[in-house]
Amino acid sequence: MRTRRRGTRAVRLGTAGLALLALAAIAAPLLTSAHPDVPALEERLRPPGPGHPLGQDALGRDVLARILQGARISLLVGAVTVGASVAAGLTLGAAAGYAGGWLDAVVMRSIDLLLAFPGLLLAIALAAVLGPSVRNVVLALSLLGWTGYARLVRAEVAALRRREFVHAAEALGARPCRIIARHLLPLVTPTLLVQATFGMAGAIVAESSLSFLGLGAPPPLASWGAMIDEGRGFLLVAPHLTVFPGIALAATVLTLQLLGDGLRDLLDVQERP
């Protein structure tokens, strides 16, 4: 009971934080009149002050406007990556778990292979060969991200597959696709939802990591990772260039972690190490 109450509070807090961030990203032009890409060289490296509440960067661009543009990129990459990964993971995991046999073996060996590398390393290698762009970041992260969801769905579906209600549906002539979609997926959804929330936090950090290494959104697009990297060169004279994008990134990840923790408590999903 106490866990559920704590979960409800965390879900409310996390949802409010995420909604606020999404709103700020969408309504960016209303929050600041400055354009994120327009330089003002005579005002470069200015600290926070009137007109530029979070200061200006090495080219005199408004840091707040760029952080809000970065929020759009982060949320977009996070949402699309998780959407694509869940769709692929769900399809392959459900098919492998339900059908078993060679399909299961192929899917599981593919997952084992992709998990044989640290995720970030493969994302870096893929982004490096595909070239720096937001689309390629989403592609690289989705190509690696589906494995976690597929493993989870496969395990749940394979366990549920032997239950009586599935045998009853089969006896009544229901096709496998219908059984999976109507009877099994609703039972898998809570676990998947929790995993997807943590996955979105992971995708946002991975996108920022790639941008930090120059493999993410190309300039002049503002990504939080790239902003932190640009700011490193001016730590002594303009620490605000590093501090503010980092706060935005950490706050977003914290919000998603809170939401994931809350959903796990609320939906009574078992934690998997």
Partner: protein, 307 residues
């Protein structure tokens, strides 16, 4: 024991073959002609042809794959274009620095995570527990590439206690190791705490308490030993991930290791070197996971007996 180790080693072979296949495919995923990308548009046709021949790209795909496997088996990962030296030699120069950093970060994270997690679980709900949970959540949420510059700002630029970057004595190791360790620390503290809470609720703990065993002994001897089982698995996975995490940390602190080498190789479009680095980190990761499996079997009598 030897049979068990051998069986695990044999089971790793298909994974290693998969890793090699992925690394081989890497060069073929490059959009366009990788040789022209590496040498630039102004390269002489004879240089292009020579590099294409050296990389084996002028042969049929199966022949290229077979040649790649044979060369790797002989420890030949090709020539680095940027360094004009064998890839294995370049990697061999940098690998010890990464191992030094990753091992220090691993030991640091583990030596802090276990006592913090145990204290938090033994005093669940207390102020210490709350602070530990907040700190571990923060540790898990703070990206290393942000934390690193902040630590430089505070301890190197602000206080002047530690060097900003580079590799040298112990002082040079402090900031990179702490940066790399903090992410792992956040995950491990949460896990140690959860495992300890579960262990402390077990019947054997209640029995030990009923028999009058001192509280500290119940926690450190009876509960901790069992609570560390899942921690060993996750710590092993995290140790492997440290090798990839080192890419960011080494870039921040100009640490001359394998991670920084990957970034340098990517910038220089030195694909043989990128392939070599990815292969080395991949094989290291698989090896760490193998060792984790063996350690886990050694410390869990149920798995040992099942063998």
């Amino acid at each position: 024991m030897l049979r068990r180790v051998l069986r695990h080693v044999v089971l790793v072979v298909p994974t290693l073959l998969g890793v090699l296949t992925l690394v081989f495919a890497f060069l073929h995923l490059v959009p366009g002609d990788p040789v022209e990308i590496m040498l630039g548009e102004s390269a002489a046709p004879s240089d292009v042809a020579a590099l294409r021949h050296d990389l084996g790209l002028d042969r049929p795909l199966p022949a290229q794959y077979a040649r790649f496997l044979v060369r790797v088996a002989h420890g030949d990962l090709g020539q680095s274009i940027a360094f004009r030296a064998p890839v294995t030699a370049v990697i061999g120069d940098r690998y010890p620095a990464t191992l030094e950093l990753a091992a220090t970060a691993f030991l640091l994270a583990l030596s802090l995570a276990i006592p913090l997690g145990v204290v938090a679980a033994a005093r669940a709900g207390s102020m210490v527990d709350r602070l530990t949970r907040i700190a571990s959540l923060a540790g898990a949420c703070l990206p290393t590439f942000w934390l690193g510059p902040l630590l430089i700002l505070g301890f190197s630029i602000g206080l002047g206690w530690l060097p900003v970057s580079g590799r040298g004595g112990v002082l040079h190791l402090v900031l990179p190791a702490v940066t790399l360790a903090l992410g792992m620390l956040g995950v491990l503290v949460r896990l140690v705490r959860a495992s300890m809470l579960e262990a402390l609720g077990q019947d054997y703990v209640r029995t030990a308490r009923a028999k009058g065993t001192p509280g500290w002994r119940v926690v450190t001897v009876h509960a901790l030993r069992n609570a560390l089982m899942p921690v060993a698995t996750v710590a092993g996975l995290q140790a492997g991930a440290l090798l990839a995490g080192a890419i960011l940390t080494e870039t921040i602190f100009a640490w001359p290791g394998l991670g920084r080498l990957v970034v340098e190789a990517i910038s220089a479009r030195d694909y043989p070197l990128v392939q070599g680095c990815v292969l080395t980190i991949g094989v290291s990761y698989v090896s760490v996971n193998l060792v984790t499996d063996l350690v886990y079997q050694a410390i869990d009598p149920r798995l040992r007996d099942a063998d």
